[in-house]
Symmetry: C2
């Protein structure tokens, strides 16, 4: 039989799946002997069963009875007893915090009789009746689904009648009257009496919490925060304690250390004679925790002791809620405290310094995503800021530009040489061009998985979404917020890390963390300009990165096509180039030469000359790249895209020629070009003549590139340098393709070495980016010295969808529907594509044990994916220069926690 109910001394902090976060930690504190008001937790399983079957499982009812009795016995009081009533709260508590999303009912156990008992026992009639009216109000709304403002209106009317301003100015008799009014509202709205049976109150409260898992707002929140629907919520039933029982009572929140610096100490606030909601409502100003020492030295000392105990127990910054009821301290909640990215690094190193955690644990306290946030350029903190509002931080960065309300305005801005921010109520696939043209995207609707957020992250654009206070009127061309009206072109600034929106231009400065990562500690500290918090942060990042580097097994390379990118990546700590895309060297002023290669006849001297000319240019490209890389490996991928990508677009050219024909004479060179473009047109270029297929079709292209690379390397080697070129063949599907190219390459390498009189070891490998390559990798390994998994293409072919055509179109919908957790182009789809990668690794190494394996898709810079690559024993990941530090950190973290650590 399934056990649904756990008293607080039956659970522990590791049972979050079953008891939710709140319940697990209440249990943990109970077991630690801390003063926790007794209670029990109903498991998430009970919730799921209820939601599936639409009824409370029978055994749950009996288990609740037993748990309730054990609480009653412990306290010697009974729920809703007429003389000395036990009151309880019924609260939701899911595995992941969902603040304000689900229901809570307090003061359960009060009825027309027990309210009098409470008055007697508390010696406070006013308090007793106020508690009762609060119960009816909360219960009415939450459990009995009474909509509208009937209760609040009645309360207001009463205050008006009595000529008072605050609730606490109402007398006990006033409140007695209000209870009567509230009860008649209940009767009127629901046709039923407010239930007087305490147990019925409790049972209905529990069901209401279960149901609140499935409210629309809760669902939306979960989608935004990527919390699985299947978790369900636990329900905590706990004895009520009151911080509002006079001046010896109170309530507060505290942290075991400074959440932004990590420094140990006493941080928090409290308020005497108040309940939790009063602190939140901000009616009265809270006192700093230190002041409690004067108020009640005994309780203060006890609390500080508990804080220390909790921190030593949890070994992390704890966030604590407490209540003092008539001088007695009660612990209501604790959890690992949330913190900013910067605080995470500082807290982690602080805890190491205090010898509370090991360095391995330190790595677990920070994430690559946090490091990314610290690396983004930031708005100059000294600059004047006019904050307009805030939305959700959906894609990091700091973007400044003029408002553009649609694609056309964004295009116009680009064409005028101005930066813009695309501002829309929400985005859909039609807005893609505008997103491409803008610096960042700001929307009024939608969460972290909305179209705008998903697509912006994919593009690496700054995005703030769901800024609900914005009123966007595209037709009128206005953005109104808080009464302020902005127009197209007005400059705004958005902070993708904080979600803030500012008016006007704000200078953007490079982050001292980034300066440290590229230029070293001294430069990084200097860039802090004496800001002590920032200095501590840079030192913390230094310490953590050093340790991550010392721990990691995965090497980190970079994807770079220019000497500048390569140099930048080396500064960021890259250990070589994992992917140098040679086709990027075919652009710009070289385009006419490339056109000549494509358009001239096979074997013609024209083509041969053009190829030879290109070869010279590529040789000088490789020369400068290899010089930057000196002593580090550089994997050069032979040309990959279809050749027609270097020719004009078919549709534009057809239009140009047709219009010219309709109005006069078309340019003969256009006609000739059109013929070629038509001939080479492909319906699905991604699945066309590219990669090794192109190399075999136009053999001279690959051999030109190989010769340029090897000849450049030989020159450097002869000059005493240490070039380490590696030749990589793209889009291989069959070992025979690779074999033919390998034979060509080996001949060229031998010739060039002979010519230069040097010795040079040049590994020849291939991309594994087609399912067939992975599924026949034991064959490929016979001809390949290394594999590099191209996880972008592999994701495309394994799923059969292209990033360009799909990510902006239906991915947001897929994420909403729970088909993806996140775009498989952002984080590797471990379950599907990951299996294919693993097949490639296993099969390859079955032929060549210890064969070198790398990853050069964009997943090489994604934290979760890096952990997977570490797990399947890939040797290195290669990512964009800016992601290199993230990859180093995550590679280090992966070794300290072999199981998937990021979830």
């Amino acid at each position: 039989m399934v056990k649904y109910v756990y008293t607080f001394n039956e659970g522990n902090k590791d049972m979050k799946d079953l008891l939710g976060g709140k319940g697990a930690n209440l249990a943990e504190m109970t077991n630690l002997g801390l003063p926790v008001p007794p209670g029990f937790t109903i498991s998430t399983e009970a919730c799921n069963t209820y939601l599936q079957e639409g009824a409370v499982p029978e055994t749950l009812t009996t288990e609740v009875t037993k748990a309730l009795r054990s609480v009653e016995d412990k306290l010697g009081r009974k729920l809703g007893d007429a003389e000395d009533p036990l009151l309880v709260s019924v609260r939701s508590g899911a595995k992941f915090s969902m603040p304000g999303m689900m229901e809570t009912v307090l003061n359960i156990g009060l009825n027309d009789e027990s309210v009098k008992g409470l008055a007697t026992v508390s010696e406070d009639e006013r308090f007793a009746w106020d508690s009762y009216r609060r119960l009816i109000q909360m219960f009415g709304k939450t459990v009995m689904d009474i909509e509208g403002d009937g209760f609040a209106d009645a309360l207001e009317a009463l205050k008006e009648e009595k000529g008072v301003h605050y609730d606490h100015e109402l007398s006990a008799d006033d409140l007695k009257g209000l209870v009567a009014t509230f009860k008649s509202i209940v009767k009127e709205e629901t046709g039923r009496e407010f239930p007087q049976d305490p147990r019925e109150q409790m049972d209905l409260g529990i069901e209401a919490v279960f149901r609140s898992w499935n409210t629309e707002r809760a669902k939306i929140y979960r989608r935004r925060e990527r919390i699985p629907e299947s978790l369900g919520t636990a329900v905590n039933v706990q004895t009520m304690v009151f911080g509002n029982m006079g001046d010896t009572s109170g309530t507060g929140v505290c942290f075991t250390r400074d959440p932004s610096t990590g420094h140990s100490g006493v941080y928090g606030d409290y308020l005497m004679n108040a309940q939790g909601e009063d602190v939140v409502a901000g009616i009265r100003n809270t006192e700093p925790l230190k002041a409690l020492e004067r108020e009640n030295a005994e309780v203060y000392k006890q609390l500080v002791g508990i804080m220390r105990k909790l921190e030593t127990h949890y070994l992390d910054l704890c966030d604590i809620e407490f209540t003092i009821e008539r001088g007695k301290l009660w612990m209501l909640q604790t959890r690992i405290g949330k913190r900013t990215a910067g605080a995470a690094f500082r807290v982690a190193t602080q805890l190491v310094e205090e010898k509370l955690i090991t360095k391995d644990e330190m790595l677990q306290r920070v994430t690559g995503e946090q490091l990314t946030q610290l690396m983004f350029p930031q708005f100059d903190t000294n600059a004047k800021r006019v904050k307009l509002g805030a939305g959700m931080a959906a894609s990091p960065g700091a973007a400044v530009g003029g408002i553009a309300f649609n694609n056309e305005q964004a295009r116009a801005a680009i064409e005028a040489g101005e930066k813009c921010i695309l501002v829309r109520r929400e985005t859909n696939p039609d807005d893609l061009p505008g997103m491409v043209d803008s610096e960042g995207v700001l929307t009024a609707r939608g969460g972290k998985t909305s179209h705008a957020a998903v697509v912006a992250r994919g593009m690496g654009k700054t995005c703030v979404c769901g800024a609900e206070a914005l009123i966007i009127d595209e037709e009128a061309g206005t953005l109104t917020v808080d009464g302020r009206v902005l127009k197209q072109g007005d400059i705004i600034a958005i902070d993708g890390a904080s979600g803030e929106i500012f008016e006007g231009d704000i200078p953007v400065t490079e982050s001292p963390v980034t300066i440290f990562l590229t230029k070293g500690l001294e430069a990084g500290l200097e860039a802090c300009n004496g800001d002590q918090e920032m200095i501590e942060l840079v030192q913390a990042v230094d310490q953590i990165m050093n340790y991550a580097d010392s721990r990691r097994r995965l090497k980190v390379r970079t994807n770079a096509d220019t000497p500048e990118d390569a140099a930048r990546a080396m500064e960021f700590g890259a250990q070589g180039i994992g992917l140098c895309r040679t086709e990027h060297m075919f652009l710009g002023e070289r385009r006419p030469l490339v056109e000549k290669v494509i358009l001239s006849e096979v074997g013609s001297s024209e083509r041969e000359e053009a190829i030879a000319e290109l070869g010279k240019l590529q040789r000088s490209d490789f020369l400068s790249m290899l010089e930057v890389l000196d002593g580090k490996p550089m994997t050069v991928r032979l040309i990959d895209p279809p050749l027609h990508e270097f020719l004009p677009d078919l549709t534009s050219l057809e239009v140009k020629v047709a219009v010219a024909k309709a109005t006069g004479e078309p340019d003969p060179s256009d006609l000739k070009m059109l013929e070629a473009v038509r001939r080479m047109h492909e319906s699905n270029p991604m699945l066309g003549l590219r990669g090794v297929r192109l190399g075999l079709y136009m053999r001279g292209l690959f051999t030109m590139q190989i010769r340029a690379l090897i000849s450049a390397a030989c020159e450097l080697k002869a000059a005493g340098k240490d070039p380490q070129p590696e030749v990589m063949v793209p889009l291989v599907g069959s070992v025979r393709e690779l074999q033919i190219i390998r034979d060509d390459a080996e001949a060229i390498i031998a010739e060039e070495k002979e010519k230069a009189g040097v010795d040079l070891d040049v590994p020849i490998g291939c991309m594994v980016e087609l399912p067939r390559a992975a599924m026949t990798a034991e064959d490929l390994a016979r001809e390949a010295d290394f594999f590099s998994f191209g996880t972008n293409d592999l994701t495309q072919t394994t799923w059969g969808f292209s990033r360009d055509d799909c990510e902006g179109v239906f991915f947001p919908n897929y994420i909403e529907e729970g088909i993806f957790g996140v775009s498989p182009f952002e984080t590797l789809d471990v379950h599907g594509v990951g299996r294919v990668v693993n097949e490639g690794v296993q099969r390859g190494r079955s032929t060549k044990p210890g064969m070198k394996m790398g990853v050069c898709g964009e997943h090489g810079g994604d934290p979760e994916s890096i952990h997977f690559f570490d797990e399947i024993n890939v040797d290195y990941v290669s990512c964009s220069p800016f992601r290199v530090p993230v990859a180093r950190l995550e590679a280090g973290r992966a070794t300290t926690e072999p199981q998937d650590a990021t979830k």
Copy 2:
């Protein structure tokens, strides 16, 4: 140590890999005690070693010595002995016959001394010197690489000088002189004397045969015939026997039964006092074998006995070469005789009737490809035919049309409503449009793997290629053959089964075999018009198909989208529809309705109405299909292609609008359409918004289709019929996609059943056509009642190439380079895509043992692929109606030979 040499009594017929076809059968005959001139075979391994190392392996030389001595001892004569010389032939003999492609040297052992001994022993001086000059001539050309016509010229000059017409009119002295001349030619051309050492002659001869494996023509032949390069040739060294030693000698060829009817009997031809080459050269007319009985009753009786013995041993039609030397019969070769497709069926059933083979063996004697050849429409045999020439039979069928020399002419023919045949020297990717527009393709160059052949087979077009006698002058617009000149538009006819080319129109008639397969035995026999051969053929096909059906485990369904196709397929024996493509129902006059669905706004009443209207039409489609299928399952695939396929082409529309703008006012409806087409344009539609993604994006489309199907089925069920619809979801990559659609479908099915008051079981399954689907099939199986492997798309995604963009472009080159044996769209790539399919089967059944699995890609009709599907325990294949009989036959064959039987 490797054994390289096998005397004839060491081998047997199953050693073809090692001894080649000829050597293995010589050994078999020797072991049967037949009179085979003694000799030995040098293995293919020896050849491969020689070709790799460039030198004869040392142990080969010593093994040859031993084998030669054993032959010499057996005959009591010595190689090249001056008194009574043993002479030998050195012949190539690969695993697969490559007629005329490799070298042969006869009469080895003759030199200036032994020629005299031969003259004495044979009592025929002329014969001895003629044999010697033949040796020098053959050896000079083959072994000593003397090019040009020196020998033939000298022979001609001598005949002229002597005033004679035929070789045999030259006297012994004339030939003596000719030998001297030939020897001086050798000396002149090579600087070396013709070798007098018999063993040296033999050794050099063996090496020459090895080398001949790699001549250009042999390589080209192998590529054409898809014979692997790696096989190598064996070398047979055999005692010479002479059919030209006077009137009691002779040579001939015979068959153990009629190669076209299969009837048992004595079939063959012979020629007295002649050598094999004389028979081939056709200088004298051969005699029918029967005549030999009068010539030499003893030998005739012996030969007939041997024929019977061989057939009983090989249990098949044998093709035999024999020589009679001075009244003694010698067997020189035997092999399983080649036959036409029709003969194969007739021979197979004849052998069963004679109780020589079992019915299982009968199935192994015929192939699906042969059946296809019999099914194609044929040129009316009674019609007048003017044969122009012949090429290779590259893709079957009978095509008639006017000559078109290029794309433009083919297009012009189409536009004039005329049929055409594309005639080109050879084709390349630029010729694709012309190939599409024509009835068939005829080329002068290239073999069965040339561009024309590969692409035509892919398109199902008739093709004759490599008709070398054609002279094609595109510029002049002429096709010249044998002096006859044809022009553009002149009607020609090509027979893709025989390779023949005819002038003028020839009526095409349906094959009686096809009539039998669709209309039954009686109709088939009637269609034979009394042609006895044809009647026997139809009866043979009947017998074999019946047996195949009784044996096969695989069910055969069809891919059909119209009631006509469905009915046709049922006639061909299909057991249901495996793939009904619903999008084909969206074309034609329904297009405006489809446009309305696409272009109207989501949720608008306009769209709802258009969808409802489409639903009505689809319902009537399904109604008529299900009526045809009554009692058989019909798998309906929900709409698969991207919606923009139903809209006008982007480029054409851009051109239209731009031209209209440049010259006046564009049509507003064009502008509106252009906007939509632009918005929906995809760079890679194959990887875009299609299949289940589209179904989830525009939910109403799928539900409309499901409702139309189920509602139609319910109507029939209520009327007492037995509709068996199955819902199939395309392009599923993740179980969640399927789950959502399944939930929708189940709700609709329940509703419609309820409405009609009938019970109906509707399986819901999915296509497995993405690698991810196969690799996560254990998840999909939770929500799928069946899988259908879409091997076309699976081939595309596993290899990452599209059929449209690649098959006509680089596949021929890939086949030449040995990357493919055959296009993976024709025959399943078992090693790569097959592994993925197998993953899908295994993983799916790991969740649901016995889960129904089908194949609905075009591979479902390909013989080799069918054997693989049988092996991995797929339940059914589905193919185009015309391939249904082929699939039935091959499915039967697969069960009788579990290992890959078609190679």
